[in-house]
Every structure is written in structure tokens, then in C-alpha cells.
């Protein structure tokens, strides 16, 4: 059964890619290649679901392919199945959405290439969680990176896009180098590069070596996950890519960074000392707070969503770090709970971030601009996108009754036992992490009031927004599918939580009961019982809303609603110039957090040509200091360029010099062999 589904999945993605390349650029080809992707995603979803439901582990070996490096090996265990479900859940709606969205690129860019790369990207992303040896893993990983590079580069007429793609490529290769180093160090004396053998080899590694492997893996996977300070590619690449690709990258691909950390850190290495967890918690909390702070200052809707992804990856890493920490303190139940919370948040984030990016794509498709200062009033003109985006915004702000709230609640509950930990350092760290998590939650709510409110509400701030139209049916269907997924994850919180609990428990060697349907979520904390009932919260809110509405209808006045102008202190007329802009909305926070932002303002005043006493227009531009680029990346890149130029002096152009280099290298090599006595 599992093998059949696997074959269907690979074949469907492959067929989708082939159809896209061969069948031309017409609408039929687009639909067919998307159908291939949707079929593949469906198969992946069933495959993952089957594995989790039956609890069996499935394996497949293909030793003849790439046999020089050990052949391909696939294995589907609980963790891999969970991430496969995560990938497929977003892949299907995004592919459906792409059918309508990519029509805008017809004639300008190659749609064959877009469709093919999309299918290859989805195939690679689905194979990463199934990889069971280093070769398979790295092949799938690199295919994912390259395919997404080409996808980011779709709109290559824009110089911004090309720059963004270059940054992205650089960061992925940088990460790959570290991953290679990590795996090679981990492999050491292992007989083969299969993960089973690596597990055995890891048990015999000294602590220092394990630490090095972990650090290397953290850099490699952290750069993919978008953790500070390796996050700079995210706000560049995600806005530049086509929106369904952004949804996939933000919703799915960066989660695989967390998957890699879990696979290498927990599964292969089997956990480690305290500093692993502390480091992850620190990076996670820092990413969360900085991510949301930068998101608040953005005027570009997709950059805001990209920084929000950095924030949420920080939150997930916080949970993962807590899991590592609790495990090192011999508290496996607390560790499993923290990991379950992190995984649940990852699943939820995939759903609502995917939804938000698809919504942003709709807005971009309708208005032609990503600048929120040019949007406004779209809720009237886009009756499907508006409610979907609102649902996504409420979900990502972590508000009941949607899924984001339940995962944040669980994460808070999972971190609380840490305050009672024996080590005071750990307790202080947990307290600070909890405080930063709460701050993030509040700031995220503010960011998404800004995002939804400025884009969709009030009057249109530009002609493009005034002329906006609703998206075509495939785009709408994609958004509604993800909105339904969010609502489903909220209503079905208990079964989903039970499943993630099973996955997490398995990683810590705890016995796990099959998920049973209950109405209450209750678990033991060190001194008491933490309880909440997700179905009751959802039902209570929705039911309460209905009851209040009915009561008001019965008891309040029956006068009809009267429509009138907005109250503006009696002024005549109202234009969009009188509304709050995106820049203005975040201004109080810009001032309050000025130590982090170091904001600068640029005010240009144009006077009337005839008199200096009359002002014709004032342009106000607010910008913030890009810390990481200015103080980390620019110096490093400048240093690399400098050393590269110095190294150029080696290229003299003379054949004699090159021959001398060759002879010199041979002499050194032979000398080294003689000295070490190697055969």
C-alpha cells in the first residue's frame, strides 16, 4: 500500500514536470501540470496519513541509482510522515492556485519552466522527509534548493528579483557546505552513509565531536529555517517569488530546516548536553522578537509576511530547543510535550502562512503592487480574498477560536515546567523566553491588524486599488482550501494534537497510546493539571456570537440602518489621503523600539513655484537600520572580496608559474604521505 502510494506520488510529480516541459505553454498544459502536482500531493498526504494511522515504518531501497555513493534509500517513520503531510497539505492548494496565478506570466516568461520547476520542487520537498541515507537526503535537499532558486528567478526582468535570487543561492550553498561537513563528521568510521549506521556511529562519538556536528548542522539547517542571523535571504526571496511559490517556500520549505535539526539532533545524535537546548532557545526567542519587530515596520505586504515567517520559525525553534533542554535534564515527558507543541505550531503555520501568501498574491494580482500604502478598500472589491485573508490574520495572531491559538497555548504550557527546573540558569532562561513569546504574540496581533486593515479596509489609496477585481476561480479555490484547512485544524485540534504527541513521544522513546477521541485536553504538569477544551472554546465562541446576535435582534430597535458619510468633524468630502498609512500605523512602535530600529526620517518639502510660503507637497520617508546587513554581512562579504582579489594575484597567466604550482603541490602531498606513513 505504502509502496503504491510512493510510486504514485513520484510518478505524478514527475509527470507534472514532464507535461509542463513538453506540452507547451497553453492553459491546458498549465492545468495538466498542476493536476500532476495535486495528484502527487494527494498521494503524499495519503502516504503520510497511512503511516501515522497504522504506525508502521516503511522502507524502500534503490541501491543501483547513484550506486557510487551508496544508492538511494527511503524510509517513512512517524517524523517523516508528519512532515510529508505538512508538505502535501500546502502543496495541493498552492498548485491549484498556481493555475490561475501563472496566467499573468504568459508571454513574458516561460511557463513550461515554471511548471516543471514547481513539480520538481514539490517532489524534492516530499522526498527530503523520506530520505534515509546521506546521499538521498543531500540530493533531495539540493534539488529543492535549486528548483526553488529557479522559481524565485521567475520574474527576472526585475533587478530586485535577480539580486534576491543571488542572495538565496548564496545562502543555500553556504548551508549545504555546512551540512556536508556535519554529515561527514558524523559519519566518521561508520560502515556506510545510511542513517541507521550513522545512529550507531554517533553513539560512539566523543562529546566534542557531537557538539561540532550539532553546531554545523545548526548553521546548515538554521539558514534554511531562517533563524537569526542567517535569515536575510527570507525577506528578499519570498517577496520576489511568484506567490504560490512564496506560500510553498514559507509554509513548507523552511519547516524542513526544523525537520533536519530534529532528524540530526534528536534522531541521529540522540540529543545532547544543555547548551544545545539553551542555544536553540536563545536563537528561537531572538528570531521571534526580531522577526515580528521587522515585520511591523514593513510596507511591502510580502516582506511583512516573510518576516512573520522568521518570527514563527523562531517560535517553533523555541519549542524544539525546549525539547532538547528538557531531554538533557532527564525530563522526557516535558520534552515530548514541547516538541509536540512545536510540531503542531509548524503544521498550523504552514496552513495559515500559505493562506496569507496566497491572499497577498491575489492582492498583487488585482492591484499590481505589493506596497500597502497603495492598497485600501479591497474588502469591497474582493469578497473572497478579504474573508480568507482575515481568517489567516486571526489565525496567525494566535487568537481563539482558530488553530494558531491552540498551538501557542500548548507551547506556553510546555515551557512552564521549565520555570520549576532544578537549575536556576534554566529557570531564568525559561522566564525570559516566556516573556519574549508573550511580547511576540502581542506584536504579531498588531502587525496583522496593520496588514489586513491597511490593505483591505477604508478607501482605496490608489487608482490601482480602486480598480481591483477578484481573482479567478482557481486562485479562489486554493485560498478557500487552505482556509478550510485552518478551520479544520482548529475544530479538530484534539486529534491533531494527539497525533503530534504520538510523533513526539516516539522520538523520546516514550510509549504512546493510539489517539483516542476526547473532549478535553488535559495533561499533568509538575504540580497540577493544565486543562483546556478546544471544541468547547470554538463552539462557545461561535454559539455565543449567534446567541448575542439573536438577542440584539429581539430586544433592540427595529429601525433600518442608515448610511451616511464618515464623521470627519463636519469637513466636506473624504479622500484616501486622510486615512492612516501603513508607515503611520507602526509609527508609535517605531519610536518605542527605536533602540532596535535606529529609525531615520527623510522629509522632502516641495514649495509652490511662485512663493516659498506655500507648500505644494511633502514626502515623508521612514527607514530603519538593517543591522544584520550592515554589521555582519557587508563586512564579511567585503572581506571575502578583498581576499578574493588578493588571491587573484596567484593567476599570473604564465604557464611556467602554473607548472611550478603543480610540482610544488605534488611534492607537498608526497611529503605528507611519507611523513604520516599512509599506504
Amino acid at each position: 500500500m505504502a509502496s503504491v502510494l510512493f510510486t504514485v506520488m513520484v510518478a505524478a510529480y514527475g509527470a507534472g514536470a514532464a507535461v509542463a516541459l513538453l506540452a507547451g505553454a497553453g492553459p491546458a498544459a498549465r492545468v495538466l501540470s498542476a493536476a500532476g502536482a495535486i495528484l502527487g500531493a494527494g498521494a503524499g498526504l495519503l502516504l503520510g496519513g497511512h503511516a501515522l494511522a497504522t504506525g508502521t515504518v516503511w522502507g524502500l531501497g534503490a541501491p543501483d541509482v547513484v550506486s557510487v555513493a551508496g544508492g538511494l534509500l527511503f524510509r517513512l517513520d512517524a517524523l517523516g510522515a508528519f512532515f510529508l503531510i505538512l508538505v502535501s497539505m500546502v502543496a495541493a492548494p498552492a498548485a491549484l492556485y498556481g493555475v490561475g496565478y501563472s496566467a499573468a506570466y504568459a508571454g513574458r516568461y516561460s511557463l513550461r519552466w515554471l511548471g516543471a520547476m514547481l513539480n520538481l520542487f514539490l517532489l524534492a520537498t516530499s522526498l527530503v522527509p523520506l530520505a534515509d541515507n546521506v546521499v538521498t537526503f543531500l540530493l533531495a535537499w539540493e534539488l529543492m534548493s535549486l528548483a526553488s532558486y529557479f522559481l524565485v528567478l521567475t520574474d527576472r526582468d526585475e533587478p530586485e528579483t535577480v539580486r534576491a535570487a543571488n542572495w538565496y543561492l548564496g545562502m543555500t550553498q553556504f548551508g549545504l557546505a555546512f551540512l556536508l561537513a556535519a554529515f561527514l563528521r558524523l559519519a566518521g568510521d561508520a560502515p556506510s552513509l545510511d542513517f541507521d549506521d550513522l545512529r550507531g556511529a554517533a553513539a560512539g562519538l566523543p562529546d566534542a565531536a557531537r557538539g561540532i556536528v550539532f553546531a554545523l548542522a545548526l548553521v546548515g539547517f538554521g539558514s534554511k529555517a531562517g533563524l537569526i542571523p542567517l535569515h536575510v535571504w527570507l525577506p528578499r526571496a519570498h517577496p520576489a517569488a511568484p506567490s504560490h511559490v512564496s506560500a510553498l517556500m514559507s509554509g513548507v520549505m523552511i519547516k524542513l530546516g526544523v525537520y533536519g535539526l530534529l532528524r540530526v539532533g534528536l534522531d541521529l545524535l540522540g540529543g545532547g548536553p544543555q547548551w544545545w537546548g539553551v542555544l536553540l532557545i536563545g536563537l528561537g526567542a531572538g528570531s521571534a522578537v526580531l522577526g515580528v519587530l521587522y515585520a511591523l515596520m514593513e510596507d511591502d505586504i510580502k516582506r511583512l509576511l516573510a518576516y512573520s515567517s522568521v518570527e514563527n520559525m523562531g517560535i517553533i525553534t523555541l519549542g524544539v530547543g525546549a525539547a532538547f533542554l528538557f531531554q538533557s535534564l532527564a525530563m522526557p515527558r516535558a520534552a515530548a510535550l514541547a516538541l509536540a507543541a512545536a510540531l503542531y505550531h509548524a503544521l498550523n503555520h504552514a496552513a495559515f502562512k500559505g493562506l496569507l501568501f496566497l491572499g497577498a498574491g491575489s492582492v498583487l494580482h488585482a492591484t499590481g503592487t505589493r506596497d500597502m500604502n497603495r492598497h485600501g478598500g479591497l474588502i469591497h472589491r474582493m469578497p473572497w480574498t478579504g474573508p480568507c485573508f482575515l481568517l489567516g490574520a486571526v489565525a496567525i495572531a494566535g487568537l481563539p477560536p482558530l488553530n494558531g491559538f491552540f498551538s501557542e497555548w500548548l507551547l506556553f504550557q510546555a515551557l512552564l515546567p521549565g520555570i520549576a527546573a532544578p537549575s536556576p540558569l534554566v529557570a531564568v532562561l525559561m522566564v525570559l523566553a516566556l516573556g519574549m513569546l508573550a511580547l511576540t504574540a502581542g506584536l504579531a496581533a498588531a502587525a496583522f491588524v496593520k496588514c489586513f486593515g491597511i490593505t483591505f479596509l477604508a478607501l482605496p489609496r490608489s487608482d490601482a486599488a480602486a480598480a481591483a477585481h477578484e481573482s479567478p476561480v482557481t486562485m479562489r479555490a486554493g485560498m478557500v482550501a487552505l482556509a478550510a484547512a485552518c478551520a479544520g485544524l482548529a475544530a479538530g485540534a484534539l486529534p491533531v494534537l494527539a497525533t503530534t504527541g504520538t510523533v513526539a513521544a516516539g522520538l523520546f522513546g516514550l510509549a504512546s497510546e493510539p489517539p483516542a477521541f476526547r473532549l478535553w485536553l488535559a495533561f499533568q504538569t509538575p504540580a497540577g493539571l493544565a486543562r483546556m477544551s478546544p471544541p468547547a472554546v470554538v463552539a462557545g465562541l461561535i454559539g455565543g456570537l449567534a446567541v448575542v446576535w439573536l438577542a440584539v435582534r429581539v430586544f433592540a430597535s427595529r429601525r433600518p440602518l442608515r448610511y451616511a458619510d464618515t464623521w470627519g468633524c463636519g469637513r466636506v468630502g473624504q479622500t484616501a489621503r486622510m486615512e492612516y498609512t501603513a508607515t503611520a500605523y507602526a509609527e508609535p512602535l517605531r519610536r518605542i523600539f527605536s533602540a532596535v530600529y535606529r529609525p531615520s526620517e527623510d522629509v522632502t518639502v516641495d514649495h509652490h513655484p511662485e512663493s516659498r510660503y506655500f507648500v505644494q507637497s511633502i514626502a515623508y520617508r521612514a527607514s530603519i537600520l538593517p543591522w544584520f546587513e550592515r554589521y555582519l554581512y557587508e563586512p564579511v562579504l567585503a572581506g571575502v572580496r578583498r581576499w578574493g582579489r588578493r588571491a587573484q594575484s596567484v593567476q599570473t597567466g604564465s604557464v611556467h608559474a602554473y607548472l611550478a604550482y603543480v610540482v610544488g603541490a605534488l611534492v607537498i602531498l608526497l611529503g605528507a604521505l611519507l611523513v604520516t606513513g599512509a599506504p
Binding site: 429601525r559 442608515r562 451616511a564 458619510d565 464623521w567 468633524c569 463636519g570 469637513r571 466636506v572
Partner: protein, 174 residues
Amino acid sequence: MLLFAKMLKVGMATEPLGPPAPDEADLLHLVREVSAESRRLFGRALAVREVDAGSCNGCEVEITGLMSPVYDSERFGIHFVASPRHADLLLVTGPVTRNMEVPLRKTYEATPSPKLVVAVGDCARTCGVFKGSYAVAGSVDQVVPVDVFVDGCPPEPAAILRGILTALRRPLRP
């Protein structure tokens, strides 16, 4: 602490409203009978929005006195609000200048029904000393329908209060 000592020393500063003076009846003009529904609705809780349609601010000073501890309109349930959307009664002063004609009309349109308009001061009814000025568009009832005029230049806060309460047929004791 000095503040609380002072509060205790001053005691209750509100004066009872008392009956109107003998000649005060001429100062009050009820243009139309306030409907029974409005009287029932606004009897005990009335939200007032003050609109200065170009007055010299003499009436405004008196209206400010209405909110002071001496006259204390709040004991009758009358409180001032920040937006005409929250208001039941518009308290209009001043001859309506040309610049304030449209804002006054917009304020009236912004107020939800049922609503009342009380025009305060000589200027509001007859344009007072500004009658015939190039800057004046007309008296208040030429812009919005008025229910009660309270004459005076300026009328005393007690007279304004009695005007409102008489229109609503409320007793003059809280």
C-alpha cells in the same frame, strides 16, 4: 493629601436648579412639541453634542459652566459626548457663519434619530448683533430644524438647563 483635604472642606458645590425667574418664560421658545417617544427615550439619559456655528464663545463659556460642579448637568443624566454619532441632542450656538453652514448640516446628518436640536443664545435665533453681516448665512433654524430656542446674550447655564428639561417635560429636580 492637600487635594483630599480641600475636597472635604469645600463639600457639595452643586446648587439646586430652582424654578425659573418670572421673566425667564419669554426667553424660552418651544418651536415644536418634542415627541412622546423622544421624551420617553431621553427622559433620564441624554447625550449632548455641542456645535459652535460661529459664535463669539460667550455661550460656550456658559455651556462649560453647565458641566461644572455648580450647575452639574450630569445629575439630570445629561452628559456631553465626543461625536455626534453618540449624541441625542445638538446644542447649537452662534449665528451660522458661511463656513460653518455645511459642517452644521453634516453634524445634524451624522446624528442618529431620534434627535433634538436646542439653539442657545440670541445669535442662534435672530443672528443677534451679527445680523446682516457678510459672513453670516442665517439663523440656526434656517440650516437645521430646531426644537427649542433659549434666548440670552449669553443665557445663564441654569436657563439653558431649564430649557432642555422643559422641552423634555422633566421635573427640575434630579
